[in-house]
């Protein structure tokens, strides 16, 4: 009996540490998800690359389709609390398409490094992936933008920090 109490006593710091971490992570985690789904429009495009192929890394030319459409406009199901990043991850996985992201610990933000092996900086120092919701470019991480029913989401490759996607400098 005494032995088991001692064992528990010894384990106490570990248990409390685990609890502490659990509480910490549960506070800042994702919003609660329900099963109610709604539909959003989703597509991935690289029109800017088609127009400026000479800017792109030679080895990546074969990845760019002539019409600039990687994923055509799809009506997909989204769930309450889904972020744009969640949708991107789901769609790319369902289509066996390559997608790589870098995660910032603690705040849990995702930075999209690559879709379909087209990486940020592959077409000049100002190039990378941006997402457009209903024609506007939100200035937040894709993992913190929560989608709503009927949203039209486009992932597009920019060569100029979003200016070529209709984002003006005032947005910063």
């Amino acid at each position: 009996m005494k032995d088991s109490i001692n064992k528990i006593k010894r384990a106490l710091p570990i248990i409390s540490a685990v609890l502490f971490i659990f509480i910490l992570t549960s506070c800042g985690g994702k919003p609660y998800k329900t099963d109610d789904d709604f539909s959003v429009t989703f597509s991935i495009r690289v029109d800017n690359l088609v127009k400026n192929m000479d800017m792109l890394d030679r080895d990546k030319h074969e990845l760019v389709p002539d019409d600039g459409v990687l994923i055509p406009e799809l009506q997909i199901a989204a769930y309450e609390g889904d972020s744009v990043f969640d949708l991107l991850q789901r769609v790319t996985r369902d289509n066996r398409m390559h997608m790589a992201a870098r995660f910032t610990p603690v705040i849990g933000d995702a930075y999209i490094e690559a879709i379909h092996n087209i990486y940020a900086y592959d077409a000049g120092p100002l190039s990378g992936w941006k997402y457009i919701v209903n024609g506007e470019i939100p200035n937040v991480s894709a993992s913190s933008y929560i989608v709503r029913a009927g949203d039209v989401i486009v992932w597009a490759y920019t060569l100029d920090l979003g200016r070529d996607l209709g984002m003006d400098d005032d947005a910063w």
Partner: protein, 287 residues
């Protein structure tokens, strides 16, 4: 140490050979070129150092190879062929796994070449090669390269002496004696160098190296091979693309010639040793 035919060549030949071979090993990620280079480096290291090289290879290089190869797909997500997904959602790709193996193979190959380099280019040759260009640096290099084996040898002497006195050689005691010996030895070395006029102007270093016709042929052979391989690399024939999808440059007859020349370059010391061995046997049987 074994009698290595290549080590008897002029130091410039030795040095240029290793510069060419290590340079190529560091820049070519083509699997066939890597394989050729690794095979030659491993054979030469085994020939030069025997069991020691085998032990080093199995105990240090094999784990290094496996760890480096396994690390790459965890951090590099490039590649078109998705094998599976990491817990954080990023893909593990076939290309990144293969690239990891290639990079690890390159690391191990370069280390193996440097093992050969250390065996062939002795301190004496180092001083001869760089004594005039950078006298202090070459002296420091040759002294520090001698440092570790010398310490190991002295530690053995100390342990043997302790055993001879009927004591158990302890690590701390051995180390203490070793450090005392090293300090004393350093002062003696400094005194000795001063007594022999180190740092005085007009001093020359003695060497018995002479550049023969044989060395000229060897130098021409190495330069020719290196030039052919350089042409191959410049024309892109030896390019092997890993990302986004593996792509091999069109294989033609010239590609095989480049592979052959690369093998001829990497295996040069082995060929020389084989020639020597053959000649020795041949002359022995006729006599």
């Amino acid at each position: 140490m074994v009698r290595d035919a290549f080590a008897f060549y002029h130091p410039i030949v030795n040095f240029l050979y290793f510069a060419a071979v290590i340079g190529c090993a560091m820049f070519f990620l083509h699997p066939i070129l890597l394989g050729i280079s690794f095979l030659c480096a491993a054979c030469y290291a085994l020939y030069l150092k025997g069991k020691k090289a085998l032990f080093f290879g199995l105990v240090f290089m094999l784990p290094l190879l496996i760890i480096t190869a396994a690390m790459n797909p965890l951090f590099n997500h490039q590649g078109a062929t998705i094998l599976s997904y990491l817990p954080n959602g990023n893909p593990v790709t076939l290309e990144s796994v293969l690239y990891g193996f290639a990079a690890a193979g390159m690391l191990v190959t370069v280390i193996a070449w440097f093992m050969c380099f250390n065996a062939v280019i002795t301190g004496e040759k180092m001083i001869y090669l760089f004594g005039r260009i950078a006298p202090v640096l070459s002296l420091v290099l040759s002294m520090s390269m001698r440092f570790v084996p010398r310490f190991a040898a002295q530690a053995k002497v100390i342990r043997n002496a302790q055993r001879g006195m009927g004591q158990k050689p302890g690590l701390v005691k051995t180390l203490s004696i070793l450090v005392t010996w090293a300090l004393e030895n350093a002062i003696e070395t400094a005194d000795s160098m001063k007594a022999r006029g180190y740092g005085l102007p007009g001093r020359t270093a003695f060497s018995i190296f002479s550049f023969n016709r044989r060395d000229g042929y060897a130098l021409a052979y190495i330069t020719l091979c290196a030039a052919v391989i350089f042409t191959g690399a410049a024309t892109g024939a030896l390019r092997f693309r890993y990302f986004p999808a593996i792509q091999v440059h069109e294989v033609t007859t010239s590609t095989y010639i480049f592979f052959g020349v690369y093998f001829a370059l990497c295996a040069f010391p082995l060929i020389l040793n084989m020639k020597e061995a053959f000649r020795w046997k041949y002359s022995a049987s006729t006599a």
